[in-house]
């Protein structure tokens, strides 16, 4: 890239400590003083053993957890929005158009068909139904989800199938910034390769990503930087 692009996410001095009020106000520190930046086309992979706070960091960036200190600024509509202090409406707006999150688990909504679920993020953004359907069908075919499943709610699908629905639901929007929390956890090699392909396509169009991958093949295939979360761990 010839010109210098501003980072899409700037995390500065982030700290998270859980306080369990109903267990003698026990304090469970997770990390502190954590800073990172992600630019377009970059995929920062959070590294570290289980329990080191990777998911907590991810959730703090998404606004799902409330950080104890620090800021998470996301470039949204050409200006930085601090997720930790923005009002809920603004956070929802950033999530709707800028910041996507792919979790390990599909939070299924009862009764809604797979196709409908995948179309939903597009419909919420005002895409016409026909176009949304076309794009959803294309993505589900790419992910090799059997067409017979499309009209069924995913609640009864296998873990791998649910995971692919989840991925389709997140990648269909082409978010500028994506948080990937073990998106390939329950996938076989073939499907992992497809997801790697999707991630690379997203990076190629300039998305910024932060990911957690336990699978080393996937990690090596998509990571531009490894970020050691353990370096910011607070001794309990």
């Amino acid at each position: 890239m010839s010109e210098i692009h501003p980072p899409l996410i700037i995390v500065e001095g982030l700290a998270k400590t859980f306080v369990l009020h109903n267990a003698d106000s026990a304090q469970i520190p997770v990390f502190k003083g954590l800073s990172l930046e992600v630019g377009p086309g970059e995929c920062i992979v959070l590294a570290g053993a289980s329990g080191v706070g990777k998911s907590s960091l991810m959730r703090s960036i998404y606004g799902n957890y409330l950080p104890t200190a620090g800021s998470v600024r996301v470039l949204h509509d050409g200006a930085y929005v601090d997720i930790t202090t923005a009002d809920p409406h603004q956070v929802l707006e950033v999530r709707r158009r800028t910041l996507g999150y792919v979790s390990q688990f599909l939070r299924v909504i009862p009764r809604i068909s797979t196709l409908q679920l995948v179309m939903e993020p597009l419909l919420e953004n005002g895409v016409a139904v026909e176009e949304a359907r076309e794009r959803a069908e294309r993505l589900l075919s790419d992910l090799k989800l059997p067409q017979a499943h499309w009209d069924l709610p995913p609640a009864t699908f296998s873990g791998g199938e649910q995971q692919r629905v989840n991925i389709a639901r997140s990648f269909i929007r082409e978010y500028p910034v994506m948080l990937l929390d073990e998106p390939t956890a329950s996938l076989d090699a073939e499907n992992r390769a497809i997801v790697v392909q999707l991630i690379r396509q997203a990076l190629a169009r300039g998305a910024a990503m932060i990911g957690i991958f336990h699978d080393e093949d996937v990690r090596d295939a998509v990571a531009t930087t490894l970020f050691p979360v353990a370096d910011f761990r607070v001794a309990a």
Partner: protein, 265 residues
Amino acid sequence: MNALSSRIESTPLLKVDGLTKWYGHILGCRDVSFDMRAGEVLGIVGESGSGKTTLLNCVSGKLPPSAGSIQFETSRFGMSDIYAMSEPDRRRMQREDWGFVHQNPRDGLRMRVSGGANVAEPMMSLGGRHYGKMRQATIDWLERVEFDTGRIDDRPANFSGGMQQRIQVARNLIHGPKLVFMDEPTGGLDVSVQARLLDLLRELVRDLRLAVMIVTHDMAVARLMADRLMVMKSGQVVETGLTDQVLDDPQHPYTQILVSSVLQI
């Protein structure tokens, strides 16, 4: 994507400031302040007796508060304090701009007339005088809430709980309100019916860009429906924030208990 397609508008639709309600010396709710915007779903959670319903009744114009103000962006007069409006103006505004879905359909339906007449009533209250047009609109809405239109002329008492709630939902949406209050809308239903109805409500809220203030003690309902939550305890708001943040990383001791008390299946 253009910014205008945002589901939640940027200007407030409802502004509640310092709302307090005393029943004699017993506190209903104290010093509650919040804003709502068009297209936003606000969930009020808390245990029984925490003041959820008092708050809902005060805000929906049914119960004058002891102190504080409630302002609403009315179609007719713009932003107005609803208790400063004259009674006929307020009642008219409630018919035009609001809906109210009760937990018990018997509180929200007229049991002596048919389901169809219940759905058509808001149109007549707003001046509808053409039977055929209102009949057609009723049928369209019954289809929209997945109600068997063959039973349009049956009385609500002959319907199941889920069907009664569908009638209630149609009756409260047919006139195109801006804001709908819901008091445990799926409270009395069994789980499978509840899931279907919640689904339907979610879809309608998105399609109609409705603002909804929903009172529930069911955290699953709150997570599915609400963009934002207010947690109430002993008449006061103890925590407020994005739904998933409040449920996944609760800050207040009471919210932590509330969230950890949900039974897992």
